[in-house]
Symmetry: C2
Subunit: 377 residues, 2 copies
């Protein structure tokens, strides 16, 4: 039902720009438009939308799964097993057949930013006129509906639970990976008690110590927490594919006054961003306002990234909260607020929370305490 409205929206857009067919390649975009997502490393899945039908090309081993989940009108299955060697063996064969019903010169919408060059060139060689529809799907996905918001709230709650349990084990001698796993273990136990037959996932990245925390994005390692560590812990938890991000910077044992001050500063910058964000202001406003907190304190040169990204089905979603983005924010948008500074020899400092824009302001779906006192171990 939700998917049907999205398809109608897409078809209106196709009429507007005179597109006969849309080919959707990106897995999260396909999920958004069909309700179906598979584990598909080496076996492409393609969604095609025209004025009449939604069609899905998929590998044989996803046939039963798609029959259960995909809101589509027709499926085309390709095979790879010896027993079915006389059937269709590649997705390209199906694509060719479907495209044969569209005359040369037809206008086809594709995601130019993610569609592999090989497919794009294949379509060009067939004589089709190609236009980008990637931005349209991005725009549709950027405003969450009430169903998506319910899923995001559950993801937020679960992420709070996980981060709390991990922090309960923050102590000298625990490795980054162990720290992550304490929270994940409890998350899965509680979620298994409370939710029946649902999909839950998580990803964690913990950067501990002065050198590692200075680098904003690292995979967790077996490095063990030591006295005087600054630790930047990042976590995303997803519930039926919708993600909440929850990050906390904390201090282990005897840290310096400067480290304490910089954590307080990062917390202050985040608070400024979370209080400011609301419908009607510009994406750039939030980025610049939080940057100003760091600049006034003399740390302008130690900011390394924008203040936040959209969130939903993908790890990062456009549009971004960045100084050069003049987008007017709207109700239903979901953003991380995560201003950070990274000071050589001192460490990195960044909290991240996920907020949903409401009619007059915003509410955070991640609620684990952010205050300085709660971040010392």
């Amino acid at each position: 039902m939700v998917v049907q409205k999205r398809i109608e929206d897409m078809r209106r857009y196709m009429d507007e720009i005179g597109v006969d067919l849309v080919i959707v390649w990106e897995p999260d975009n396909q999920f958004y438009l069909t309700g179906f997502r598979a584990i598909s490393y080496s076996r492409p899945i393609v969604t095609l939308i025209d004025g009449k039908e939604i069609q899905l090309i998929l590998p044989g081993l996803e046939e039963a799964h798609a029959a259960q989940m995909a809101k589509v009108d027709r499926t085309y299955v390709y095979y790879e097993q010896y027993g079915f060697r006389d059937r269709v063996l590649t997705y390209i064969d199906h694509l060719t057949q479907i495209l044969s019903t569209f005359p040369c010169g037809s206008k086809i919408g594709v995601e130019v930013g993610v569609l592999p060059a090989s497919i794009y060139m294949y379509l060009l060689e067939k004589g089709f006129v190609l236009v980008d529809i990637g931005e349209k799907v991005t725009k549709m996905r950027s405003i969450k509906d009430s169903h998506e918001i319910e899923l995001l709230k559950v993801a937020g709650n679960l992420s709070d639970l996980a981060i709390g349990e991990s922090l309960r084990h923050a102590r000298i001698g625990v490795s980054e990976l162990e720290f992550d796993s304490y929270g994940d273990r409890l998350l899965l136990e509680i979620a298994s008690q409370e939710y029946k037959d649902e999909l839950i996932g998580y990803a964690d990245w913990t950067c501990s110590g002065v050198v590692r925390s200075e680098m904003p994005h690292l995979y967790s390692s077996t490095r063990k927490f030591a006295d005087g560590d600054v630790v930047v812990h990042s976590r995303q938890v997803w519930f039926n594919n919708y993600r909440a991000e929850n990050e906390r910077t904390f201090l282990i044992g005897n840290v310096t006054e400067k480290q304490k001050d910089l954590l307080k500063l990062a917390i202050e910058a985040q608070q400024v961003g979370m209080e400011l964000i609301r419908p009607g202001i510009l994406a750039s406003d939030v980025d610049i306002a939080t940057f100003e907190v760091f600049r006034k304190a003399g740390y302008a040169d130690f900011v390394q990234h924008r203040v936040g990204h959209g969130l939903g089905l993908s790890e990062h979603e456009e549009p971004y909260l960045r100084f050069d983005n003049e987008l007017v924010l709207q109700e239903g948008m979901v953003y991380t607020i995560e201003p950070g500074i990274y000071v050589p020899g001192v460490g990195g400092f960044r909290h991240s929370d996920t907020v949903i824009l409401t009619e007059n302001g915003s509410r955070s779906i991640t609620e684990y305490p952010r205050d300085f006192e709660s971040m010392q171990f």
Copy 2:
């Protein structure tokens, strides 16, 4: 040192096909050629190789990380923070600058199967002649050197440990996600004791019960194991980016004679494949030989996939063990052997192990028991 040899190999190939520059986009390919991999959802990283230099375009927040890890001659950093708004803000600007030193008509190698259409078209519009180098990198990556094999062996050992611990908790009432997490928790604890400052990761997929196990590839859910379940558990564990795959099908409580027979059949098919695979035979031989085990037992129609895929840095790597692949297998190749059948109303049955091809045969880096008796709970 290892990376240097790979670069030399790539440069010889570039000379052979008359390519002036190679642009590497795929993250695993970049890691293979530079030793550097980042978490990079929305911030592209690009590696460029010409006859003289290896160059890296990367976002500011990866600058310190790359300085530590990347075996490259030069880096070009783009920024996104307000404070550096007068510097280069996009990777495309750096790319344009680097390409300006190559005359129109220069031949550039790209990965046509993964490079986004937008970049490909940008290069075409600049007047460059583009050729595919994706297959060359795939071919290089398919033969593992001794360093890679050492990492794979550690990954295999860790996966055995994890799968054993999960299976110790196989019982009615445990959810798929909890089952996964038991093994992951122990894996991270032991790995943190045994390895210092190393990267370890894992992914699990557990399909439990008749209906879910019939679908070869599903994300784990909160569904709880029940009496009479067939469970297909898949696990990949990676150690410093190199992956071992380890999958076991097991039975919970009172299952039917038919379910027992089909598990025995899948085990037999896997044994045939593991004994057969060696340098000198064709990829197709392994696929067809294991298929024949199922066919002779009357289950030809219930095979849904090829018998295995390459493994290393990516979840699935080419070339595949598939009936229509005439590739002659070589020493140093790494493959999963995972013949499966999926019978409606009965369940799915598949073990997977990861084998390295040796001079005269193969050895499995995953050694958890595969026998029928060990698979009943």
